[in-house]
């Protein structure tokens, strides 16, 4: 589904990603972990198509299409979704108006009929219940005046409504208390299915207690330093990211 090959990315001339290789298959959940500055958010942003990132080498294919040929809206319409670490506020635009506009854009792309206001409300109500969100959320301006936790939850609501093929969650767990974390995890787990894939970008292991990944990758200095299964995350938590650097350096030191 997602095939990343030798990806190099610079920001303002400074190399951030230095050769990422990653394959994500349908049905899989991957966790990308790493210390601050390791490049994990950059990876998420580049995949979604944010401006200001220069791809200097390598390629990314999504559903067999060259990802870098698609503008951000085409990626979204092709089923890619990025849950933002810092969701933006759009004053005066109601959540429900925005969600319906976005969903109908995706549905048009899929050749499905657009939903009218009544059908859309039906569609969204079930998702709200899943995330323990009040109906009132729908009528507030998009993220305006939302608390940090509400914004994150709203990202997951958008994801649930849009039903993407590939969801990338950029530090969705940061700033969430344990109850909110559980609710968010429930939303993500509900989306797991054999034809969807999820990439979790996170600093902490604790999210993975609630969303159990198939694969865990540890990013250090713009490369995937280690890959493994669930156990790797637990070991990381015990030993800290310094351990990765040590392992990484000792591996590099090998002849």
């Amino acid at each position: 589904m997602l095939h990343i090959s030798n990806l190099h990315v610079s920001v303002g001339g400074k190399p951030i990603l230095k050769g990422i290789d990653l394959d994500v298959m349908p049905g899989e959940v991957h966790a990308i972990m790493g210390p601050n500055g390791s490049g994990k958010s950059t990876l998420a942003q580049v995949l979604a198509g944010r401006a200001g990132y220069e791809v200097t080498q390598g390629s990314v294919h999504y559903l067999d299409r060259d990802l870098f040929q698609l503008p951000p809206e085409q990626r979204a319409r092709a089923g890619m979704f990025l849950a933002f670490q810092y969701p933006l506020e759009i004053p005066g635009v109601s959540n429900i108006q925005f969600l319906r506009t976005a969903l109908n854009g995706v549905r048009r792309e899929r050749g499905e009929p657009e939903l009218d206001a009544i059908d859309f409300l039906e569609h969204v109500k079930g998702k709200l219940a899943l995330l323990e969100m009040d109906d009132a959320f729908l009528y507030r301006s998009l993220n305006e005046g939302f608390s940090g936790g509400e914004k994150k939850r709203n990202e997951i609501l958008q994801m649930a409504v849009l039903e993407p093929r590939l969801a990338i969650l950029d530090e969705t767990d940061s700033g969430l208390d344990i109850d909110a974390l559980k609710v968010v995890a429930r939303g993500v787990n509900a989306l797991r299915s054999p034809d969807r894939a999820i990439v979790l970008v996170t600093h902490y292991q604790r999210l993975l207690d609630h969303i159990v990944p198939d694969r865990v990758h540890v990013l250090a200095d713009g490369r995937i330093a280690m890959s493994g299964n669930r156990e790797l995350a637990l070991e990381l938590e015990q030993r800290g990211y310094a351990w990765v650097d040590d392992v990484d350096e000792s591996e590099e030191a090998k002849p």
């Binding site: 809206e73 979204a76 635009v93 108006q97």
Partner: protein, 479 residues
Amino acid sequence: MGNNDLQRRIDTPYRWGFVTDIEQETMPMGLDEEVIRRISARKDEPDFMLDWRLKAYRHWLTMKEPTWSSVHYPAIDYQAIRYFAAPKNAKRPKSLDEVDPELLATYDKLGIPLKEREALAGVAVDAVFDSVSVATTFKDKLMSMGVIFCPFSEAVQSYPDLVREYLGSVVPYTDNFFAALNAAVFSDGSFVYVPKGVRCPMELSTYFRINARDTGQFERTLIVADEGSYVSYLEGCTAPQRDENQLHAAVVELVALKDARIKYSTVQNWYPGDAEGRGGIYNFVTKRGECRGDNSHISWTQVETGSAITWKYPSCILRGDNSVGEFYSVALTNHHQQADTGTKMVHIGKNTRSTIVSKGISAGRGRNAYRGLVKMLKGAEGARNHSQCDSLLMSPDCAAHTFPYIEVKEPGATVEHEATTSRIGEDQLFYLRSRGLTEEDAVALIVNGFCKEVFKELPMEFAVEARKLLAVSLEGAVG
């Protein structure tokens, strides 16, 4: 999406820029007493009107064109303007069937099918073409309720007492340079009188169209809402695309008596000039309403997307106790457009209230200024004002300014002013695009959100038109 994409600008063609080929009766260029006498004679006016015009003209000669606003334009040669132009068919049509088909076709093309609007009850239209009202729909039905809705020139003939009583009572000819000029030469406009206790059953609207070359448009609208009445009035305007600038200096007077309410909405879409700033209308307009009676209420809502230069300050004189004045405005400037617009709220009566919501959007090299005066006179006990002025910047070369003037002579009055300036952010656009919205849709969504508080004040049909107009005016404008 790189910065280069963001910088690109598409010169959106002005969709209303065509010229109607119709036989015109015009007067020679220039202005003197003789021209004024001819205009008055042409309209068969009673003596009081001619006297008033001449007094206005003589006063105008003593005045200087104002220079205090932030707009810049080359000096206007007032002798190089024609002060009267009218479609040749001199007789006023009794019904739409008598109107020149070419004119009806023009309004169809503008999206104002007069016949259809007549058939679909709900909106009564007065269509003003150059200086003359060419058709007014629903007159008979309105008349059965005592509501007078007719061309100004007809009101002068049929209701001289009403005209005499109210004309110039809110905007006297001495008010300002452009108001004096208008009083001297105005040729037509709409007149509305809603009698005591009547709630006008439909929206009244006037569509102004400038067609003739080298011609100034000077129309005058007077709306009187008698005690306990209500009326909602809509105004729309367009002009052909021409390389030279054309002057539009209108006056609108509103009078709300005790317990009356007037809602006045404008979608102003005069030709704004091209992307390089050639041509476009100079829109120098005086609009003022007086809440003359207690508990009266006047609200102005305007969406300003057109004109090369906009200079207008729809205002409220809150004379009656407990009267309410409101001003909701969206002003958009793109390319080389300049707007200096805002309002004046003058609180005289006790417990008078006013609300000002101004949304300025600047794109391209547009310059947008909000200029507002809130005045609390001695005796306006318990008066309150709340002003909110927000600016949205869409390009690196545009500008937004806010000039609030506050004068408080009454210690028991409250004035609040809030202002914000924001730039449409690349981050916001990316966020929306990452959910599948195109860049254009994302811009439209952000701008509509920004203008929401104003749009919700517009009658439904007009709100849809306003949204479309903004989207068209902003195509490719993000930078």
